[in-house]
Amino acid sequence: MKSQSNFSEASDDKTVWQLFLAGNVEAFEYLMSAHFRRLFQYGSKFSKDQEFVKDCIQDLFLILWEKRENLGNDIAVKPYLMASLRRLMHRAISSKSWMAGESLDEKEGSFELEFSVEQEYIDHESTLARTRQLEKLLGELPKRQKEVIYLKYFQEMSRDQISEIMSVSPQTVSNLLQIAIKQLKKHWKAEFLTFFVIHLFI
């Protein structure tokens, strides 16, 4: 813990990153502890195996350390780390499923979001129904749309950051978001209506 004291809260990611590039182990440690939780949360969307996610993060940082002389010194650290972890995990997962003889599209592409509905915030039954409906619809979105929604609404990332993390163009991010939201709203309305009608008849 002592090493972290060398980095005041004022040290921004960029400064730490440059120290890290220069081979400073304390900067390395700081980077890793500052980003670990978020990376872990993100990584867990690709695999439920927590040990595997931890190993991937460890590997990610070892790779970065190893390659630090070839890394850019003016990068946005957070999206860069997330993008790198994403790539690394995709590769690891696809070779893992290849080894296990599973078909790729089955395993490679999962992005799982789990929600819980906190009822304490809900005062009407109709709101509860709507929330549950939304939860279900979110779960049915294609994985890339789910990932965009997650990064945008639950990690509060900007369009450019998301585009970097998922290595797609900013335009693609916008498109994915638009399609996803449209989908959520459309079905929501339709299904909500059915729900309502059924209730009227019961």
Partner: protein
């Protein structure tokens, strides 16, 4: 905030500004939204409902405690410390062989785990494995009529096989092969280093057994290094495709008999490093990749304001290597350069410098990292 006048509940739920106010209100957002709600009393129901939904939909993030995080960090630190020269000042700063590079180890770690499982399995079924052909060079083919050639000279030795295949045996290399290939499989046993040019015959796949590694080809040229005293076996492909697998692989029989190439498949300019001790395979590129296209089809690598993506495609094609990059990001990056006389790595380095990108070799492919050009 006029745009909110026609918002429905679901519009609010997916509005970033609205969510910010609900989830982490500040004085400013509070004032803005309260004022808006006062002016739009007909929306108060919608706002109330959207608010409940946003608040109640909680994403379940996995739990991880600080000590757990600490543990991983400490583990990682101890690994970089044992690797960093600055923490071992008395040690000669040895340049580590490139295949020791961490990313390669990572790329191979999964393969490593699986192979460990295989080993365990084959240990378990040792008898079966014996039958499926586990042997050392020394007892290979004792019960068969095999010719042995040993290169005791200091020059390369050319060995011709009955099917027209040619083997260039390096000094000190030994090879055993049948005088006539009569079986469905063409099988030879190698110790040391050799370059193989195998004549094409898909009905009779060609197998090289070397130090625990099986290389299966249909017709191609490649080099194998399997020195007796070294733990490593490498296979480098020049043309065609080969597949390699460990003898310890429990599926070895099936893989060997299948007409398709299975196991780790290598393309031209790719290379596998198989470490016997650690039982892992690492796929990478040969040190000096060569152009695989016939001379007449090799394009000129002269680029003038060419989109860099085109340059990558043309180079990838010439070397028969996959170069992965983000088309969208590199769209706006023009490249002007003449790169006819450079090696693949020089070409890539120069191009990456020019468009502020970087590259790495991963699993036998080139991966371009770029943030795009904004001009």
């Amino acid at each position: 905030m006029d745009r909110y006048n026609h918002y429905t509940v679901e519009d609010f739920v997916w509005d970033v500004f609205f969510r910010q106010w609900v989830l982490s209100p500040t004085r400013e957002t509070d004032i803005a939204w309260n004022e808006w709600a006062e002016n739009n009393p007909e929306k108060s129901d919608a706002i109330q409902q959207a608010r409940s939904i946003v608040l109640s939909m909680r994403l379940n993030e996995p739990e991880i405690s600080e000590p757990e995080i600490r543990e991983v960090i400490n583990r990682t630190l101890s690994r970089i410390r044992t690797h960093s020269p600055e923490f071992a000042p008395n040690e000669e700063p040895v340049k580590r062989p490139f295949y020791r590079a961490m990313w390669l180890q990572v790329a191979a770690s999964v393969a490593f785990l699986m192979l460990s499982a295989w080993i365990g399995y084959s240990f378990y079924n040792k008898k079966e494995a014996k039958q499926s052909g586990e042997y050392t060079y020394a007892d290979a083919g004792k019960d068969l009529l095999l010719v042995e050639k040993v290169n005791t000279t200091s020059a390369n030795m050319l060995v011709s096989l009955s099917d027209g295949s040619k083997i260039t045996l390096s000094p000190k290399g030994r090879i055993r092969y049948p005088e006539q290939f009569v079986d469905a499989k063409r099988e030879v046993y190698l110790e040391g280093e050799a370059f193989f040019e195998i004549s094409k015959d898909p009905d009779h796949p060609f197998f090289v057994y070397a130090h625990g590694l099986i290389t299966k080809v249909l017709g191609t040229s490649f080099r194998i290094k399997a020195y007796e005293l070294s733990d490593e076996v490498t296979v480098e492909v020049k043309t065609g495709r080969v597949s390699v697998f460990a003898q310890s692989d429990p599926d070895v029989v099936e893989k060997a008999s299948n007409r398709e190439l299975e196991g780790v498949v290598l393309n031209p300019n790719q290379k596998i490093i198989y470490t016997r001790e650690e039982v892992r395979m690492i796929k990478t590129l040969v040190e000096k990749p060569e152009i695989v296209l016939p001379k007449t089809e090799v394009p000129q690598f002269e680029f003038e304001d060419t989109p860099v993506s085109e340059a990558f495609v043309s180079i990838g094609k010439a070397y028969g290597i996959d170069i992965l990059f983000d088309e969208e990001l590199l769209k706006g990056c023009p490249l002007t350069a003449t790169l006819d006389n450079q090696t693949l790595h020089e070409k890539l380095t120069i191009i990456c410098k020019a468009v502020e990108a970087s590259y790495e070799i991963l699993d036998g492919q080139v991966v371009i990292h770029s943030k795009g050009c904004r001009n």
